[in-house]
Subunit: 417 residues, 2 copies
């Protein structure tokens, strides 16, 4: 569900013609729909209303300050994974008590900054990290709240790169390590260990893996409590899948209907960490056709966006729907010829879509859908390409929320010797 | 071959202790050896000396200004693929007559800038682009030299993402299109079409694909000349493979010995475009061990560099040798346990090496070898991580050639609404 809709063959974002936005801001361009963002947020909030969870928006999905601010203004907290994301959270004045911090590799400096800001809690990924946070907290004379990330060893049926809850993944701890930490919490006098965190992966379209992970977690909590451990928080992470092509992902309500019954008697403060679910379908990448190239067996639509702007097709083999901004312009005469939509980067891995049917002409603009999450946030300057601009549509007005880079940005930190 | 050598168990770069460099510039850090760079350049130059080719360093492999300048000062030209790379070339004052420009998606603006700078030639990838360059040249009242990129349809036996000379790739033109363009060159009055360009891929370790491509190209040139076309330039691209693990790539001399006999009677100015061959083994990524995490079946060495700093393992499944800076520190007691070297980025695709034997402790520094090409140039700010610093060692002195980013850099172009 999103508010990128065609009216009389022309694409609109929140009621604003995308072609008009492109005229003002040029291509390649990320365009986000605030209405879509907020509607997804509300869907999760409503679905879980019974437990009044803290919903922490997963910043890594799309870390633009204006999008973070939109979430926070509407009541969300933030799920951060680095010092850079903490810096962003401060920049938009997110209340520290609404911030949770996960990552397998938190450095001393990052831990210190987060403690000083007073974040709600760290999600701790290893015993080594537990020691580290305790000692940084000690040096600051602080007591710090932590949840332990439990790796429930479940199969999430998603791309192996974004599966995170199997025992062979680098994330979380097994139940023995978690239990050991709770039993030995006196060894960590500067920590209040009182929560469990799980996160089994990303773009998961079915409920079963979540149910299985939550059931295992419930067992663990029960056994911990039997040993007199206090568990006040349960963070069940993110990972809800969205529609890129023809997936039929569970809705927020279906998800809540499966999970809520398992949690109602648990007496914990529930935390959720949606990212892709909020912004994934709320963004498109608009790109212009530079050349059409007819090869013997294929047609190549060469556009001005590339793998450096949107890495997902190349990195994960991800599918993104691609359509013209103006459907009425297209001719269907060459419909039978398979078309690859490719960028100008000098490698064959640079494609946005393969074997499509897309009828467009040189100079036309096309839209790559589902580009709101892990789009700009993964972009690079590969081939010395400038990172593109980002626009957020809000109340029928298009706001520039990130300026297009210029050539000086490319070499800003370089030193010629 | 490179000048990253161990002496008494400690790693040196061009005779300078890497541990010392790290002390001054911190981790994660790219460290480059100018001696290795120049030695590879000389190897190619010597191997092809008979034909005195123009050797254009492929900027996309590593576009740091100081590395480009090192190449240009030593006599190289530049192979560029974007307006950003042209900007870089101007910045280090590369002579325009030593610049060749390839890319399937050159925009009007990029073409115009390159013509105004007076580059040697464009390598043209399609008939649509040929038209475009002609019309931009016309608007500027210039006559512009072009080579046509011929796609010889050969199998390069490398990763599919970096194979570029098969007919299903987006690159180049088939022989019919090339012939058509030469026969109809009067349709392009502002172009001097007088060269052929081929480039069959990257990291190619054997000679056969090159020989096959050059033979096909020779046939094409012969048939073009029979039709009274003038061919003054032959650009055989780059693609020479290097040693990442246990490859046994052809040497520059072996390569030249295969290719030169094919070219000697051709009477063309030869152009070469080496990139990875020059810088690939001339760079390492030094990273510090943040945590050691023992899981049931595996050990994870969690370091402060990640997939955003070096994308090759994640994107291509590429192998990079990984060793401690100080070999004598390691203990071998857990030698039997397989070790993954992973970064702090929140996805399982974030790894630098898998199933290795690596004996290191928390706080130690390790080196990821073969990181000079397609390392920093592909790096991003994913997970709001700061892009790292780059250091070039020259005459036994370490020079900072790119400053580490700071948090303000992350949000420099963002606008909070």
């Amino acid at each position: 569900m999103d508010y990128f809709l065609y009216k009389k063959g022309k694409l609109y974002c929140d009621g604003l013609a995308v072609e008009k936005i492109v005229k003002d801001f040029s291509t390649p361009l990320y365009v986000y729909s605030s209405r879509t963002i907020l509607e997804h947020f509300v869907k999760i909030k409503k679905a879980f209303a019974k437990l009044k969870p803290l919903i922490c928006y997963s910043v890594k999905a799309n870390s633009n300050l204006s999008i973070m601010k939109l979430m926070v203004e509407n009541g969300a907290g933030l799920d951060i994974v680095s010092g850079g994301e903490l810096f962003r959270a401060k920049k938009i004045k997110c209340k520290p008590e609404k911030i949770v911090y996960a990552s397998v590799g938190k450095t001393d400096q990052e831990i210190k900054q987060a403690i000083l800001y007073g974040i709600l809690m760290f999600n701790v990924e290893s015993l080594a990290e537990l020691n580290r946070i305790n000692s940084v907290a000690k040096s600051l004379r602080k007591k710090v709240t932590v949840a332990l990330r439990f790796n429930p060893d479940v199969e999430a049926n998603t791309h192996s790169y974004i599966t995170t809850g199997k025992k062979e993944n680098k994330f979380g701890m097994d139940s023995e390590s978690v239990s050991w930490a709770f039993l030995n919490k006196s060894s960590f006098p500067n920590l209040s260990i009182c929560g469990i965190h799980i996160h089994i992966g990303s773009q998961i379209t079915e409920g079963a893996p979540f149910v299985s992970a939550v059931k295992k977690t419930k067992q663990l909590i029960t056994s911990l409590r039997a040993n007199k451990s206090e568990i006040n928080y349960l963070n069940i992470g993110g990972g809800l899948g969205i529609v890129y092509n023809d997936e039929k992902p569970q809705t927020a309500k279906e998800f809540a209907d499966l999970i809520l019954p398992l949690l109602e008697d648990l007496k914990v403060r529930l935390i959720l960490e949606p990212g892709r679910f909020i912004v994934g379908n709320a963004g498109i990448l608009v790109t212009s056709v530079t050349y059409i190239k007819e090869a013997l067996t294929k047609r190549f639509v060469i556009v001005d966006a590339a793998m450096n702007d949107l890495a997902r097709p190349s990195l994960y083999g991800a599918y993104h729907k691609i359509l013209p901004l103006n459907k009425s312009l297209g001719t269907l005469e060459n419909n039978e010829k398979k078309t690859d939509i490719v960028g100008p980067v000098c490698e064959s891995g640079d494609f946005l879509g393969k074997d499509r049917q897309l009828s467009v002409k040189q100079g036309e603009n096309i839209s790559v859908f589902g580009a709101g999450a892990y789009g700009f946030s993964m972009s690079s300057n590969y081939n010395s390409r400038l990172r593109v601009a980002e626009v957020l549509v809000k109340n029928r007005k298009a706001y520039l929320i990130r300026k297009r880079e210029n050539y000086s940005d490319l070499v800003r930190n370089e030193v010629i010797i």
